[in-house]
Structures are given as structure tokens and as C-alpha cells.
């Protein structure tokens, strides 16, 4: 069962912040975040494991609320290079389950 992402799309001006949310109805083992630019492969950003954690990577960070089965990706002081589609992927906490992606959030950063 795929995770649900919101919003579907967002437009930012350079320097603005954004939050992308990802939620699941099933207990999760881990949440992955990837960014895909048009015509390219998805590129890994970060993984958050159950136990609830928060990770950061430059001005992109994420949190995972295990109790709510929700993760959020935070983009601060956005740059033009942040434009792309962000996918969360989830691994369920029920044995041998694959990474399943949400429908993605299209982020456009404009000057």
C-alpha cells in the first residue's frame, strides 16, 4: 500500500521554505526520501528508521514520527536546484516488504 504525499505540487520563490508530508496507514520500518529531476533517475536524499528520528542534509532535513506513521521533509532557504519531484518511499514493518513510493510532490523554485 503506497504512502500518501502532500501537497501534490508547490511553487516557491528562492529563499522560501517548504514542507512535504508523507503518511502511511501501516506501521513502518523506514521512510526514504528521493528527488527526481525531469528525465533523470530518482536520487537518494535520506533514510529515517523506526524509533523516530530526524536527519539533516545541508538545508534539507526530515523527521519521522513512528507513532503517527508520518514523515516530513523540510526544505529551507530553497534554491533553484531544489526543483524537482520529491518522492517518499516506505518500507512496512511487517517482514519482507519492498520500498513503495508515493505519487510524488512536484516542487518548483523560481527566481
Amino acid at each position: 500500500q503506497q504512502p500518501v504525499q502532500s501537497p501534490q505540487a508547490v511553487i516557491l520563490r528562492e529563499g522560501e521554505d517548504a514542507v512535504i508530508n508523507c503518511s502511511s496507514s501501516k506501521a513502518l520500518y523506514s521512510v526514504h526520501w528521493y528527488r527526481q529531476k525531469h528525465g533523470e533517475a530518482p536520487v537518494f536524499l535520506m533514510i529515517l528508521l523506526k524509533g523516530g528520528e530526524q536527519k539533516g542534509h545541508d538545508k534539507i532535513s526530515a523527521s519521522f514520527n513512528e507513532k503517527k506513521q508520518q514523515s516530513s521533509l523540510y526544505l529551507t532557504a530553497s534554491q533553484l536546484s531544489y526543483s524537482g519531484t520529491y518522492f517518499c518511499g516506505t518500507v512496512r514493518n511487517s517482514g519482507n516488504t519492498p520500498l513503495v513510493f508515493g505519487k510524488g510532490t512536484r516542487l518548483s523554485v523560481i527566481a
Binding site: 533517475a41 530518482p42 519492498p98 513503495v100 510524488g104
Partner: protein, 114 residues
Amino acid sequence: EPEVTQTPSHQVTQMGQEVILRCVPISNHLYFYWYRQILGQKVEFLVSFYNNEISEKSEIFDDQFSVERPDGSNFTLKIRSTKLEDSAMYFCASSSSQFNSPLHFGNGTRLTVT
């Protein structure tokens, strides 16, 4: 940095034909995957492969599809009797562990069925 390579980058085939998409995963990775992405849509899981056998497959991965690791480096996806709706970008990915390491994606093969 090691990378996943896929060939061909673009494949055009006629409906009903068979195609084989090829992938060379990162050499020390143990888990291999195929995903597909219909234009403008989400990345859909097809199959995962470990220890020379399928570990998980989605409902998309029916008898039309098969995977193989014919030697120590290649990982292939065969699509038999292709249909128009098989047109998509097919991504191969590999990872070092199953649940808590990133997937490294290849650049994909764009399959066009005419």
C-alpha cells in the same frame, strides 16, 4: 563513485514482441530491483531479487515479466508479448542491504511500444 548502469537507454518495439532490459548493479550490492515509471506518474515497484531468486513482486509483475541474473554482474528484465501500456521508463536499482540502505538507481530504459 560506483553507479548502476542500464542498457539500452531507449528501446522501441512493436506490440507483441519480447524485450530484454539490462542492468549492471553496483558490484558489492546484494539486492536488486526493477521499478517502472509511466510518464509523469509515480515510480512503481515491480520486483526485488536477492540470492538468485525473487524476494518480492508486485501485482504488476505477472507472467509477462521475468528477471534473471545470468552471470555475476548483469541483472535483466524480460517482457514478453509487449503491450502498448508497457510503455514506460524502467529503472533498475540496487542496494547493499534490504531495508535500511539507499536504493541506487540507474538512468533508466525508456521503452516505447508501438
